[in-house]
Symmetry: C4
């Protein structure tokens, strides 16, 4: 069942340590088969060097485990909420990558300080609020997902393929698991550059809006002209 998707999600998970985005078992990637309504996710707490495609866990969109012998990532209810709220996305990544996590810890959205940011994220990369004590107690991981969805009430998750969770760390997504990892790498680099920028330039370095529009659209708009078509 879902052999290809398990293989793809496995590969996407293994890309996290190769790209320096995770320490030990911190982080997880999932990918979804929208037709069947099933998603595949990393098992909880398994070191990357011991992972294989067969260990991937299969979940349905009601949160039931329907395949795999290991327990899924403890963040699975967050992935589930995002797949339910954002029907356009096909893969999700959670990491504690260093600079993105520092921004999450500071509780601030990452301002758009340059075209590296604008090429991938349209506008600031938002920071979701802390959960309340009740939300934390009741269903922490599920409510984390809901707090992310809140932030996208007036944003398009395809135009802003990632978010920070306050005092926690980043989530990114994409059309599939590989693109979600790609966006996690970009977010970490954008977070690093933004952090450096404030040290020398303060917080008043935003990219003019028309320049953000230009860069985002030349890669993602209907008349995009970056790349080989």
């Amino acid at each position: 069942m879902l052999i290809e998707l398990k293989e793809m999600v496995y590969e996407a998970n293994m890309e996290l340590p190769r790209r320096g985005l995770v320490t030990y078992t911190w982080g997880n990637v999932s990918g979804i088969d929208r037709e069947r309504g099933l998603f595949v996710i990393k098992p909880s707490g398994v070191p990357y060097e011991e992972l294989d495609p067969e260990m991937m866990v299969v979940m349905d969109l009601d949160g039931n485990q329907v395949g795999g012998r290991l327990r899924p990532s403890s963040d699975t209810p967050t992935h589930l909420e995002l797949y339910r709220a954002f029907p356009e996305i096909g893969g999700i990544v959670h990491t504690h990558s260093t600079h993105a996590t520092a921004w999450a810890q500071s509780g601030r959205a990452i301002p758009c300080y340059g075209t590296t940011h604008a090429d991938y994220f349209y506008g600031e990369i938002p920071c979701a609020r802390n959960l309340t004590p009740e939300e934390t107690e009741a269903a922490y991981e599920k409510n984390t997902g809901k707090s992310i969805v809140e932030v996208f009430a007036d944003r398009n998750p395809i135009h802003v393929p990632g978010v920070l969770c306050k005092n926690h760390g980043p989530f990114t997504w994409g059309k599939d698991a590989a693109e979600a990892v790609h966006n996690a790498v970009v977010l970490e680099e954008v977070a690093k550059m933004a952090w450096m920028t404030e040290m020398i330039g303060g917080r008043d370095c935003q990219t003019p809006q028309y320049m953000q529009d230009k860069h985002f659209m030349r890669k993602h708009g209907p008349n995009a002209y970056y790349g080989q078509k």
Copy 2:
């Protein structure tokens, strides 16, 4: 004598340079056999690339060398104090890892700015005071151990498996030498993220207490649900 423990402590020592926590001979790991009341520690000043398990030094809990031909790490009296004061711990690490040492040099405890921290350390990571001139002169390394123990008068060393020594560097511990090294790696990463956080967010970014409780307990509490049991 203690062949397996020597092998384990050797492996834990070799993990320090692999994880980028030491330069040259800076740092040492020990592990204890509580039944026999003996601990094994790195010899002093030997480069990691020349180390082998047979070089490990065996000490008793009165501070007598009972095995090994080389002199033990000059920090051995600190390890000894910690093994005597904290009967729950089985391994100890000392490094001068860059970011943890910067916090130690600043003389500040590391505030809990996020869940990466809360997953491993319950509350701030404390900073032990400077020794007095008399304590420094009389028995520097032993008194370093005592100054650490002071800090844990009202803390559980299992819930806070590490400490900074002011103007010096970090010590971490765990149930065995391998876990102590794991905690040293985590401390360095947490120190790095906290350092970055203050640059963009100031010092007012603490994680709400109920969120710290949630994260620490989901990994370490009686109903922990992280990992494969």
Copy 3:
């Protein structure tokens, strides 16, 4: 056609990921054959690991593609403007290297804080202005080139072989593609050191002018005495 130049530009492009200057497909190198009035440039959006010399695109100085089956880098019109305005240069590099981009995002020129800088760049490394909305809309990449040329109205591009574009990133150049990459590596290192310098020394650390003269001239002046002639 231009087999050797394609090989050289290919090699110069491959040096970017080896030197840690690019993530994914960010960045491009070109090189020119001044006799034929043709330049060779990386194709747009092709990952470095898939690149080969045959994929390089050939352009004339009117902006027509005259060789290669792939589309040229989207930054090609910027390269074209620079080749037309600076007849002394033979190669151009664009990257989003981390520290240089942070300076570009801050909108500040990099002050000459030391001899590492003075050995390669005479005086500050300037920062070109943002384009207007009209310039951005009409011919963004071409106008980026023009905004760089503006900055060199009173500077010698051979003495200052690079520039930052505000909210975007750096361009460097040299007598050929290889030297342009060399200068991109130096710029990134100089940007890193300058960033660090301001954290501990503020902005008042400029190198005395006579010392800048000495260092630049001992490597580049008529009586240069650095190296094996």
Copy 4:
């Protein structure tokens, strides 16, 4: 002539890129044979990957080249001044290592913020003044050496085996070329930690003097007890 010394100085030079202390050809190591009054130094501007022991240049203490076919490092007159002024030293290193250079660019001595520093450098690591225009013009590299010697009028170069030159970079030394490189590695790490310390702790973090004494003496004093004797 001096085959063993050339081999040793070659090896010490090659350690610079392995330890990440140099970019391209920045940096050089020399070593001296005090009995013969000759020192061996890297040739100027030769990439490390092309270096071999036979390329090393031999100089006498009057500044005459007495062996080797290539031109010596442009910093040779600085090395010469140091060998003449400090008869106890046997090897010298110059680098532009990133963090040490940032301190040099800031024009500040590195305060002793911790025991990592105190284990190797007794007291602050001083910063030599800028040369005057006349000193720069007349004999730049020789006068750089003299400005370093000035700083050691009231310091022991064995107790403080390194210095920063304002707006330039660090020099370190030791009993031979290998130890000089060792001290260059330590200086870079100490400079990095001190830089980080000021970001979170300000400038008021000095290590108490009695603690500096203790650490320096336990490694270097007559009753040193670090290492295997």
